[in-house]
């Protein structure tokens, strides 16, 4: 050690909460801002969780924290994780509604108050079942708590069938969605396990979704994760970015607009109405959306925490940047085109009512009238159409391949598109049906022979014309010659006399 080194500002004074002995210490830790009198102590310090945590914070350009605060946060986090674990273990099965599983208390309560559940309940009561029976049989107990669920996420089997659960690149999921985070972890093992294990340490700062909580759900897991960190230094870049984002995240309330700073709307509907009106947000398949709140929460977290654009793969530096991007690029919309995009949002939807056996009679199909021109002859068509119920019609309706003509099964009518109205108004002669003999003859006839005959007759006609032309020409020549037969200069017709 040279004197020059000693004269430089000591790392022990970097942290404001440096230990008392830091000043005289020769062996310092730059990450934690502490000094040690002996190299042995320093080495032991390097192995503590506290140091590792501060190391990560340093990478994320965060100031180090003292050992006391670290201990407090560990205790807090363990407390929170236990709560979350309880929440995670919540399982309710509604027998009335076809053994539907609910993994969060909120979703279950929502379900109990839903009209669908009430309908089913009413129907079940008619069948002699009671809700009490269902309640008793509800499986409110402990979910299978296998070690697989712990931090040792590497044991998650890859061979499990892929469930239609959405996955977000950052693994952020609202816990109310019900185990979504866990399942997404299962599906994308490599990425999420890395994220989970690495985020675990930083997660002590803030309460995050259950994807992170899982990482700490096992008490012993945290240390084992920590041990792994020596080998995963290369992951620290990603980890740090994630950590930074998590820290900078602004949690948007449910009644705040995702795309602008407007807040405090009257309710979810008002928020949605605002986003629809001012930003053009269209929520697909609104009829089948069952968890609007969950959807909005998911979207807002994607924007606020992940700083990710909803529509493209753009990831902004901050919430404001991604908002600016979405507004400028008109990306204030939910992608719903591909299968993956639909699966991502499928947990908020319930399409079971669209299945055929669950089909319910709907209103008469009367809006076709607007398709037709108001022509007089169409009036009859329209009245006939409105009688046809949609359900009946869907079975036998036939749409023309061009998409411009619709055939109705009952009345044998055909509805044309208005763009072709001028053609439908024409009164063409109906195509005559061939009689049996005509059809037989036409089918048996070989056109080839006919063609030669007809071509020859044409040739014959032309030949006749040539003859006629030649004869006319001859006659003309004769007439012309006759005109000049008389060559006498002063000719007097002898008949006229002297």
């Amino acid at each position: 050690m040279s004197a020059a080194t000693l004269s430089s500002p000591s790392p022990a004074v970097i942290g404001s909460s440096a230990p008392a002995n830091g000043g005289s210490a020769l062996f310092t830790c730059n990450s934690c801002g502490v000094g040690f009198p002996t190299p042995d102590m320093q080495r032991r310090h390097m192995k503590t969780d506290w140091h590792r945590y501060n190391l990560k914070r340093r990478v994320a350009t965060l100031p180090p924290i003292s050992a006391e605060i670290f201990a407090e946060r560990v205790l807090q986090q363990m407390d929170a994780s236990r709560k979350n674990e309880e929440k995670l273990l919540f399982v309710q099965i509604c027998r009335v509604c076809g053994n539907k599983r609910f993994t969060s208390a909120g979703a279950y309560e929502n379900h109990l108050s839903s009209s669908r559940h009430k309908d089913n309940l009413k129907r079940a009561e008619q069948l002699g079942l009671r809700e009490d029976d269902d309640a008793e049989s509800n499986l409110s107990g402990v979910r299978d708590h296998s070690p697989d669920w712990s931090v040792a996420s590497s044991t998650f089997s890859l061979g499990e069938p892929v469930q239609p659960q959405p996955y977000h690149a950052f693994g952020f999921r609202d816990s109310r969605v019900g185990g979504g985070g866990k399942k997404s972890l299962r599906r994308h093992k490599t990425l999420s396990s890395a994220a989970t294990s690495s985020v675990a340490g930083d997660d002590l700062d803030s309460v995050i979704g259950d994807g992170v909580v899982l990482g700490l759900s096992d008490g012993s897991g945290s240390s084992s994760v920590a041990d792994d960190h020596d080998a995963e230094d290369e992951d620290e870049d990603i980890d740090s970015i994630i950590a930074r984002k998590l820290q900078n995240a602004v949690k948007l309330p449910i009644n705040a607009c995702i795309f602008c700073s407007a807040q405090n709307f009257g309710g979810i509907e008002a928020t949605v109405a605002h986003m629809q009106r001012d930003h053009g947000l269209f929520i697909p398949e609104r009829d089948y959306l069952v968890d609007l709140e969950g959807l909005l929460t998911y979207l807002s977290e994607k924007v606020s925490i992940g700083n990710a654009c909803l529509y493209c793969s753009f990831i902004g530096r901050s919430l404001n940047s991604v908002r600016d991007h979405m507004v400028a690029k008109q990306h204030c919309k939910i992608p719903y085109d591909t299968e993956d995009e639909r699966l991502e949002l499928s947990s908020f939807y319930d399409f079971s009512s669209s299945y055929p056996d669950d089909y319910e009679e709907e209103d008469d199909w009367d809006d076709v009238a607007s398709e037709e021109e108001g022509a007089e002859e169409d009036a009859e068509t329209v009245t006939d159409v409105s009688v046809v119920s949609r359900r009946r019609a869907e079975g036998n309706l036939v749409l023309d391949p061009t998409g411009l003509e619709l055939s109705l099964p009952l009345s044998r009518l055909r509805i044309g598109h208005r763009s072709l109205a001028r053609y439908y108004r024409q009164s063409l002669r109906p195509s005559t049906e061939l009689r049996e003999g005509q059809g037989t003859v036409i089918a048996a006839s070989s056109r080839q022979v006919l063609a030669t005959v007809s071509r020859d007759s044409v040739k014959e006609r032309f030949t006749k014309k040539d003859w006629r032309d030649q004869r006319d020409k001859q006659n003309r020549d004769i007439r012309r010659e006759q005109r000049y037969i008389n060559q006498q200069k002063h000719y007097r017709d002898p008949m006229l006399g002297g």
């Binding site: 049996e436 037989t440 003859v441 006839s445």
Partner: protein
């Protein structure tokens, strides 16, 4: 193998309208109904002519057409398409086809010794019976057998035509027992166009007559009996050229029906065949014969009549044009709706101005005229024609039979030819035993009552 099965199935489905299984099948009954009407009308007309009650050709043709219409309207009320399959024509002496005058005043009146060829056709639901018969208008009303037989080339011609028709019918009938007696001369060879041609031409050679273009022995199907406007392909049988299709080449014998007729295909049980034999005792120069076939008259020898305009037309359904002339449009609609695919007579049209309209349609080739064709050549050319339709009716129990729909049982004029068939095979066909072929003639019903009272008198089908 599976492909073959499919093809066979397809043929079967196509041919269900043409397959004859038994005499009781609906198709056979329609054929027989058409044949009986044709036979009735023909025998009635022959009797009237022989007894000199009818001498004006217009009367004969008009009566024949009226009787066909009247008789067909009585049967198969639910069948839409039925009636005249060929208007009645009376072709005198050297006329081969197509003479059916439009009015009585200018029509030909039969005179003594005329060779009269009556042709007519009836169809019921497309099942057609065409028939032609040749007789000599005799000077007396006396019974035929009291008069001396006609001799000479006319007798040779009539004999040849008549015997050729009989022989061909017997030859066709041999297909019915082909599998039961494979060792016999007629039992182990397929009956195809080439054999039919050999048979007919050898008979013609025996009687020193020539075959006239237009003769044909061919398979017929529902609605398809060789109309001029229908150009079928792969028709079984043999055709000695065509009268109607005018070749534009220098040699009119080139490029005729050859390619449409499949002369190799063998006749099968369950088919209907048309036997149409026209022969003439040609005595002109050798240039009047077909270059390739000296037993056949060249088509150069057939010329349309100078004055007589065609009165019979056939709609060509392959040609559709919109006509300017109102009467032409009217005729076209009437033909399409009421006439079928068969030839029709101008007089049978009810549209006002029909002759004008038909002429316009013929100009536009929408209808094809059946020209009045005369055979040229020797100083007093004559031609005889015998035409009939036969069903090769298979039988489940025993050997099938040949059902002659019309023309059977009407005795030909009494003629005596000095020539004689010597070929043993042909003799066997022409003998009483007919080489083992059973022949059933459909008998006509008596139409005299119909003419007088208009009441129907449908008799049971008689079997000879």
């Amino acid at each position: 193998m599976s492909l073959q099965e499919i093809v066979v199935d397809g043929e079967e489905t196509v041919d269900t309208k043409n397959a004859l299984t038994s005499l009781d099948s609906p198709i056979s009954l329609k054929y027989v109904a058409a044949g009986r009407i044709a036979q009735s009308v023909l025998s009635y007309l022959v009797r009237e002519i022989a007894q000199r009650r009818m001498t004006n050709v217009y009367d004969i043709c008009h009566t024949g057409d009226s009787l066909i219409e009247q008789e067909t309207s009585k049967i198969y009320k639910n069948v839409d398409e039925k009636g005249i399959a060929g208007p009645t024509t009376v072709d005198i002496n050297n006329c081969v086809q197509g003479y059916s005058p439009v009015n009585r005043e200018t029509a030909y009146v039969l005179s003594n010794g005329d060779i009269v060829k009556i042709s007519l056709g009836v169809h019921v639901d497309g099942y057609t019976s065409l028939v032609s018969h040749t007789l000599i208008a005799l000077p007396t009303i006396a019974p035929i057998d009291q008069v001396a037989p006609t001799t000479g080339i006319l007798a040779d011609d009539i004999c040849a035509t008549h015997l050729a028709t009989e022989a061909v019918m017997s030859l066709l009938g041999t297909v019915l027992y082909r599998y039961e007696n494979p060792s016999g001369y007629y039992g182990n060879r397929p009956v195809n166009g080439e054999r039919i041609r050999d048979l007919v031409e050898s008979i013609a050679k025996t009687f020193q007559v020539k075959v006239v273009p237009g003769s044909a022995v061919r398979r017929v199907k529902r609605f398809l009996v060789g109309q001029d406007t229908v150009h079928e392909v792969d028709v079984k049988g043999y055709a000695w050229g065509s009268i109607s299709i005018e070749a534009m080449t220098d040699d009119p014998d080139e490029g005729d029906l050859k390619k449409m007729i499949d002369t190799e295909a063998a006749a099968e049980p369950g088919e209907a065949w048309l036997v149409d034999i026209i022969m003439c005792p040609f005595s002109g120069p050798e240039s009047g014969l077909n270059k390739k076939n000296p037993l056949q008259v060249s088509r150069r020898m057939l010329k349309p009549h100078g004055d007589l305009k065609p009165t019979i037309f056939t709609r060509d359904y392959n040609r559709n044009l919109s006509m300017k002339l109102k009467s032409a449009r009217g005729v076209l609609i009437e033909v399409d709706n009421r006439k079928s695919v068969y030839p029709f007579h101008m007089n049978n049209l009810s549209t006002p101005g029909a002759p004008l309209g038909v002429a316009a349609l013929a100009n536009a080739d929408i209808v094809a005229p059946t020209k009045v064709m005369m055979i040229q050549g020797s100083p007093s050319p004559i031609a005889t024609r015998v035409r009939t339709t036969v069903l090769l009716m298979p039988s489940a129990k025993h050997v099938g039979e040949v059902v002659r729909l019309s023309g059977g049982g009407i005795k030909p004029s009494w003629v005596h030819s000095e020539f004689e068939v010597t070929d043993e095979d042909i003799m066997e066909l022409l003998s009483e035993k007919r080489a083992g072929v059973r022949l059933r003639n459909i008998q006509g019903s008596d139409l005299d009552v119909v003419r007088e009272s208009g009441a129907a008198n449908v008799q049971e089908m008689e079997v000879e």
